[in-house]
Amino acid sequence: MPSYAWLIVWLPLLGFLHNAFAGYLYKDLAARKKAVSYIAPGVVLAAFVVTLAVLKNEVLTAADHRVIVPLIPGLSPETPWINIAGFKANFGLLLDPLSMLMAMVVTGIGGLIHIYATGYMAEDREQPRFFTYFNLFIFMMLLLVLGSNFLMMFVGWEGVGSCSYLLISFWYTDENNAKAGNKAFIVNRVGDLGFALGMMAIWSVFGTLSYFGEKGTGVMQMAARHVDLLGNPLNIGVVTLICSLLFVGAMGKSAQIPLWVWLPDAMAGPTPVSALIHAATMVTAGVVMLTRCSWLFVQAPGALQLVGWIGLATAFVGATIGLVQSDIKRVLAFSTVSQLGYMFLACGVGNFTAGMFHVLTHACFKALLFLGSGAVIHSMHGEQDMRKMGGLKKLIPRTWFVMFIGTYAIAGFPFLSGFFSKDEILGSASASPWGNGVLLYGVGLLTAFMTAFYMNRLMHKTFYTDARFVDGELHAHHHSNFDEHEDAHGADAHAHEGANDHGHGDAHGGGTVHESPPSMMIPLYVLAVLSVLVGIVLGPTKIFEHFLEPSVARLDLGPLAEVTPLVPEIVGWVISGAIAIGGLTLAAMLYGSRKQTGELTTEASKVKNPLYAFLANKWCFDLVYNKVFITIGGKFADRVLWKYVDVRLIDGAVNGVANAVGKISGTIRKVQTGYVRNYALGILFGVVALLVGLLAQWTTLNR
């Protein structure tokens, strides 16, 4: 039976071509936008349907749940794509539970985000261009997850990076957006260098780049047998090197310390972009890659430990910084960084399944949160600063409701999806085979607590307190009201005036807060349902674990792996749940009834929340909170981690290198005086250098 899997990949490409040439197909802008708004989500959802069909008919019925099918129908997957000068690569689609899972996430959640974007971008004149990039992104992402070898993954990897660049800078009235795009691109190139070198190392060890091949010729199959191309036992040092290099690539794409600087800045793009690329799909590519290479990574405990530590640090630091952000999208951005850290933490302790489970649940609830925040921003006419929000629950109750679900899901509120995936990660962290379970578990819990805290803080500042704006007088905002270190990121604001003629003020006559259109709300409802159900359906029932089993290697370290978890599973659930509820409650208490600033002030007496008032020692608590949490913790996060570590050190490194290159360039360009004589002198200099160099080499060799 011929496979239809190729449709999954080609459908979005068709959509891309349609949207790209829409300008020629439809002369009228309205007709063009209408056609694009049907085609773009249509192809992605169609790909989703095909994915489901392929999963049912082809993957689950196959032996060991793995098939390789051609990318172009009719060709054999073994047809060499490149067979030049000793280098060979085939192109095919690897269909196994891991790739199908990711294909479902990309097309399913991606499809929902596409639908949402039809509403979000409805008034943008550049909407066809937006969907052109969007569909291209889906194509590249599918190539990345479905490709049957590293080279295809790399092509997709770079392709999603390029699309991400084009989309981050999509609203370009602000040069900072372009800078954010550039930064994302260039930081990613550093990671890609690691990936490319890792790939080369794989080639030199295994002589192939395919994950799986006939008769066990794939990289993973050889790794599973502990042999290299020539049948010699694998050298652990070499495998560790390969894995470390691949992880550098993953760090770049998945925004891990120290290559994480680009992700918060990437929020400059339209919100659907943040949801699709910078939350649900592209940034998880690093986790997918690690899981795909799990057979390699389980051979390299050193690399795995590195992954674990980096993941933990990223999770913690990301959450800390999330505590003090006041831009709604930046809170979510740092939350994404932090959650990605969680996923790598899971991989680092050898539980790739848990990492992928968190990828899945995170895709649901983070997409929900981003889209919800997009709806809020949409309702607020481009305002992104939470300090200027408040009281929105009454005005946009449906948006509030879905955001509420998302918040509780990410916070790990018992029996929502985030609860199960996070608990799984925390459980395996506590049973870390590297003997650092207590530390991993402790910091992981602390991070979970902070996550719950800042997410509820976001909810309170946005929805519950009194409105800090005057309804009816909203207008499109510039970002001048942002903190100085955030001023680069008010992109959504610009959509509404500037070149794109978004023009809410005119469209809605005076700028009142309004609920978003159904095209935006329906995906939110679906995602909300998913955020509630995915965890409980797939987690405790072990469906997910069994499903993914054929794609993931088990970490087998002999007696070393025999570490019992610190706490039994049930206790773990209780602790996780308690932590989540604790974080949520603390935020509720602290931000429950702040009226004007949304930040704590000394005017604590005005607090009216009964639960909060119930605490006898409230002033003292306030003080402690003020002093310890805001002053020390907040300042630490704000001043040290964000400003120093991020802005100064990492950002500084990125910008510093750029500046240095620019300076060097500015200096040495003066050599180019434009005078023939000087140029001739340059040539003579080269002549003398070559002559003396070669003669010196001759002397050395003939001594």
Partner: protein
């Protein structure tokens, strides 16, 4: 295999086709009034001739082994046929792109195409030359035509200045080249049995293989020969003329010059150093230093430029550096066994050939976009002229985007595959550090390629810029642009389609 003279003529049929087309155009344009008045005749005939040439080369590429033509003056092997194809493609793209541009600037004359064709034949001869004096003559055929072409806009100061700079420095470098040949001629006596000198690369390769003991004169000759070729290939520090000449020359000439001269120069460099592989321990370090200096020099200097033509000039310098990495990989110096060395050699040959084609197409494309959006009378020069191009002319902007991504080495483009093959060859050759250097240098390049993209896609059109409106495009330039963009993507996705070209190139023997 040494061919008889008749067979030799057949073996170099692609080159002869280009030369004859040049003569036909010259005669037709000067003798037939109708021909001269119908402006489309000369370019059409030229493209036809180039297509014939490419077709001949395609038909010969499979059959030619290691053929020595004209008693050893030329090597009409598969690599030279591969270069013929690449150069014919470049020249055809150049001719197609030139017509409208020249017409707009009042420069449309048959002589232009004659010069383009003859200089193409010069570059083709460079790729085939196995006698160094033939190489010298071929370099001069290419260069003399290019000197004239650079100054083709005779009434413009910049164009004239470009011509003079290029001419004086080119002749200067030519002097070193000639002296280098003299020294190699003299120095080869110590390695040639019977105490006579030779400048035949094939003979030198064989002798050096038998007795890799060059004397100092030979080594000095190698250095000076390298100078002459490095000038044509624009390697740092012999690159200084490049940005000025590229900026000053008419854009259509710049495109041709950037692509064809570099392909010719690298084909010659490859021939020379391939013959000198047995003594690679003498020159390898120099080649590597040149490669690193050129990659970083070109990329770093490009970062602060505001003139698109200069950006592309510096970028072409950087690409020469990447190609030098391939030359270094040719030696397989770090490979452990002879088998691995041979593998690295064929990987490097294939990689360089692919990269030359990729470079030619990308460069022609990038300059082609500039040609396309140039309006009557003025050139597109600064980045300002590209502002908001995505709004005023989206097709041009997206085509440029493809070429910029390709030049930057981002998949799925030809530029990526080219870098990949060079990377691969370098690793096969055991020169990991050079591969890493290449990757680092290309990270720098992203800065300025993205800058061009950013200006095009993410700024508002500038009212004062040269090209605010949609360009009046002729068929030729559009066809050439679409063809190069399509090729960039197609061969980026499926480089396997070119495997016969690359395999043919890798049949060039390691001495």
């Amino acid at each position: 295999m040494i061919l008889s003279n008749g067979a030799s003529l057949a073996a170099i049929a692609p080159i002869l086709a280009v030369m004859i087309t040049g003569m036909i155009v010259l005669l037709g344009d000067s003798c037939l009034k109708l021909w001269r008045q119908a402006k489309w005749v000369s370019p059409t005939i030229s493209v036809l001739g180039l297509v014939v040439s490419a077709a001949l080369a395609c038909s010969l590429i499979g059959t030619s082994g290691q053929q020595l033509a004209f008693s050893g003056a030329l090597t009409a092997d598969a690599f030279s046929q591969a270069c013929n194809i690449i150069l014919a493609v470049i020249a055809a793209l150049a001719v197609m792109g030139s017509a409208t541009y020249l017409e707009n600037r009042g420069l449309q004359h048959g002589e232009y195409y004659v010069l383009v064709l003859f200089s193409t034949s010069g570059a083709m001869l460079m790729a085939a030359a196995s006698e160094l004096i033939v190489l010298f003559v071929a370099v001069e055929i290419l260069s003399v035509a290019l000197y004239v072409l650079a100054g083709y806009a005779r009434t413009e100061r910049k164009s004239e200045e470009a011509a003079l700079k290029y001419f004086l420095l080119g002749a200067f470098a030519g002097g070193f080249l000639l002296y280098g040949i003299a020294l190699i001629y003299g120095g080869s006596s110590s390695i040639v049995p019977g105490q006579v000198g030779t400048t035949n690369l094939r003979a030198l390769g064989i002798y050096l293989h038998q007795m890799p003991a060059p004397n100092q004169m030979f080594i000095a000759g190698t250095a000076l020969l390298m100078v002459g070729l490095a000038f044509k290939a624009a390697l740092v520090p012999f690159h200084m003329w490049t940005p000025d000449v590229y900026e000053g020359a008419p854009t259509s000439v710049t495109a041709f010059m950037a692509a064809a001269a570099k392909v010719g120069a690298f084909a010659a460099i490859l021939r020379v150093f391939n013959a000198f592989i047995p003594i690679s321990e003498y020159w390898l370090i120099i080649v590597q230093v040149l490669a690193v200096a050129t990659m970083f020099g070109g990329n770093i200097l490009a970062v602060v430029q505001d003139n698109v033509k200069r950006i592309l000039a510096y970028s072409s310098i950087a690409h020469a550096g990447y190609l030098m990495v391939g030359i270094s990989a040719l030696t397989g110096s770090g490979a452990a066994t002879d088998a691995l060395k041979a593998e690295a050699h064929s990987a490097a040959m294939g990689g360089i050939t692919f990269y030359l084609l990729a470079y030619g197409i990308m460069t022609m494309g990038a300059f082609g976009v500039l040609i396309w959006i140039s309006r009557r009378g003025r050139d597109v020069q600064t980045l300002n002229d590209l502002k908001g191009l995505v709004k005023t002319d989206p097709v041009a902007a997206y085509t440029m985007l493809i070429f910029m991504l390709s030049l930057g080495g981002i998949p799925p483009t030809m530029g990526f595959m080219g870098k990949w093959f060079l990377f691969y060859a370098t690793l096969q050759a055991g020169q990991l550090w050079l591969a890493v250097t290449l990757a680092l240098a290309s990270i720098i390049s992203i800065y300025y390629y993205l800058r061009v993209v950013w200006v095009m896609c993410f700024t508002e059109p500038d009212e004062n810029a040269v090209a605010p409106g949609r360009a009046v495009a002729s068929g030729g330039v559009v066809v050439s642009l679409i063809a190069s963009a399509a090729a960039t993507l197609l061969f980026g996705v499926a480089p396997g389609l070119l495997h016969s070209l690359m395999d043919a190139a890798s049949t060039v023997l390691r001495p």
